[in-house]
Amino acid sequence: MRAPDITRSRAYDPRLLVLLPALALALAGCSRHTALTVRADLVPFMSVGETQLNSAPIAPGTSYLDWPFSGSHLTNPGHSVDLTTLGAPSSALTDITAFSLTFAAQVTPSVPLAAGTATLYLAPSSASDVHAYPAVTVDTPPVAAGQTATVSITADDATDASALPYLRSGSFLVGAEVEVNASGSGTARVTLTHLLVTVSLPPGWGLP
């Protein structure tokens, strides 16, 4: 296990898209019936420090495991996502018709955890704390000591239509919080495995 490198915080920058066969893609986009979907897993573009937390402390009773790992569940600045770097035409972002965002993490506690909940937050880029913008909450199963549980939360325009304006602005904040109930003190190793963002643009996205 590599030590978290929290000093390397770097925005994902999938600029590979610049060399796509632009002509053919433009042809595809320059049609009234062609829709566009941009689907990106942001985890490969994050540093280890951004995706892994080796020893989040767990106390008897309720504890909170936040992502991004801010060190305290009281404030969570959120992770900034800029859709324009994902290949979505910036002029068309205002036309986003649907979105889906899936947060998936693995939790390995050193002490048994009872059932809990996990919440995904979507917030405007101007927000100082994503906790004020819960998108969806799911139940999490009990986890035995030393075992690994996967927590997966998906929010979309059906479950959180209020987030559509954030995505249409081109940038937004995302955060997650896992609420665990432990019988004793210990630690939990948390690894973010996926942060999958999908946005859909309507037919004619390549046309003025």
Partner: protein, 447 residues
């Protein structure tokens, strides 16, 4: 010159352009080298004076079949469809490109853009997937060639002459080997080369073709024909671009992306008569043909080379270079380019023609033909076809390879000195693996 045509007028220019083009086409024989007869035979060019653009020696062959006018019925599709109106619900740029580059055919099923495009970015790299529409063909080298020329001229004795306004468009996209994976399992790198060249100009053609005297009964009664053509070219406008680019996702030992780097380098050159960018040069063509009596019919074979010469252009060039840290453009200034022997073609044609009374069936005639055309700058086409004639009617079929498989069937009828030919043919649409079928028609007269 490549045949077909491509135009891109604005909505306001459409009626006038369509009318002017239609009138010009109707007034001029053989504007489209591929007549309905040729398309019905899989695209093969049968040796005849009408095929002198392929082999100048063919101009001296005995005239058979008369002249033909290929009807630009593709314009009907363009004029009545949503091709030039981006606001129309049915607007589809890929369909417009397909139909616009095949003006001699009314396409029944032009290529259709995909219903959806999905960009994917994940740990495996980039992926692109299309859904619906015509299957896109982007992982293999792709070419788009279109052109339009309007030969105006005639022949006096052994001498041919004429003027020929023309436009040509050549575009090539060559993906790097890593780009194929982008359309499959994903790739952390991508590279490719894109070149495009569009020229408009005026050619003045002067040629000669004549039979060479051979000793009586030499070569079984064969007749040898030689021909040559010289074309003075005035280039009125040109725009060309050439770009190479590559990108790569840098990964650390854990597989995480640490950075994405890319770079590109290319030039854009433009010029025209309005800004002193006039081009000039000369192109030549030479060919041989031979006819040999055989089995009551005639075997005709020919070989030719064309587009030999030099073009000189004075173009204003701008170089674009850049990487992930930014880009620069450099005004190179006026660049004088001397281009020798670009797009030299070597073509061979072969045909067996049997007249009525030689097949054991009264009134039945037969023509079998095949051709091959090698573009020394890249590209090869070949076709083979047959025509069976029963009195005034003819049935045709053929197949060929020209940027993909081509098929054709057709029929024709002659009566009272005029005739009409029709064909149903197919081609691979640009940038796709889609097979488009088109209907074409030609008028024949003077046979």
């Amino acid at each position: 010159m490549p045949t077909g045509a491509t135009i891109a007028p604005g909505p306001q220019a459409r009626p006038a352009l369509v009318l002017a083009l239609a009138l010009a086409l109707l007034a001029t024989p053989s504007v489209f080298a591929q007549s309905a007869r040729s398309l019905g035979m899989g695209g093969v060019r049968v040796p005849a004076p009408a095929a002198a653009d392929v082999n100048p020696a063919f101009a001296a062959l005995p005239r058979t079949g008369g002249a033909s006018v290929t009807l630009p019925i593709g314009l009907l599709s363009l004029a009545t469809g949503d091709y030039w109106n981006p606001n129309a619900q049915g607007f589809d740029a890929l369909s417009a490109l397909d139909q616009g580059s095949h003006l001699g055919q009314y396409l029944l099923n032009p290529a259709v853009s995909p219903d959806g495009v999905t960009f994917g970015v994940d740990a495996s790299g980039l992926t692109i997937a299309f859904s619906g529409g015509s299957p896109m063909r982007l992982a293999a080298p792709t070419a788009f060639d279109a052109g339009f020329d309007l030969p105006l001229g005639g022949r006096v004795g052994a001498v041919t002459f004429g003027v020929r306004p023309f436009t040509t468009v050549h575009a090539r996209f060559t993906p790097g080997p890593d780009l194929e994976a982008v359309f499959g399992s994903g790739s952390t790198s991508a590279s490719g080369t894109l070149t495009a060249d569009a020229v408009a100009g005026l050619a003045v053609d002067v040629g000669a073709a004549l039979p060479l005297p051979l000793p009586p009964h030499a070569m079984g009664g064969a007749t040898l024909y030689v021909g040559a053509r010289a074309s003075g070219i005035a280039g009125l406008a040109r725009a060309s671009a050439s770009f190479q680019g590559q990108a790569r996702a840098q990964q650390d030992s854990s597989g995480a992306y640490t950075d994405v780097t890319y770079s590109y380098d290319g030039t854009v050159s433009v010029g025209g008569i309005t800004n002193g960018g006039l081009g000039y040069g000369a192109l030549g063509a030479a060919g041989l043909a031979v006819t040999v009596p055989a089995g009551g019919g005639t075997v005709t074979a020919g070989i030719a080379v064309r587009h030999i010469g030099v073009m000189i252009w004075n173009l204003h060039q701008t170089r674009y270079q850049g990487d992930q840290n930014g880009g620069t453009s450099t005004d190179v200034g006026t660049v004088r380019s001397v281009e020798v022997a670009q797009h030299v073609h070597v073509a061979g044609n072969l045909a067996l023609s049997l007249g009525e009374g030689h097949l054991g069936v009264p009134g039945m005639g037969l023509t079998l033909a095949a051709d091959g055309d090698l573009d020394l700058s890249g590209g090869f086409a070949t076709h083979a076809g047959a025509e069976v004639r029963f009195g005034p009617t003819a049935l045709r079929a053929g197949a060929g390879y020209q940027d993909g498989l081509r098929l054709g069937v057709g029929a024709g009828v002659r009566a009272g000195g005029v005739g009409i030919d029709a064909a149903l043919s197919s081609h691979r649409s640009p940038f796709t693996d889609h097979r488009a079928y088109g209907v074409s028609a030609s008028l024949a007269f003077g046979f």
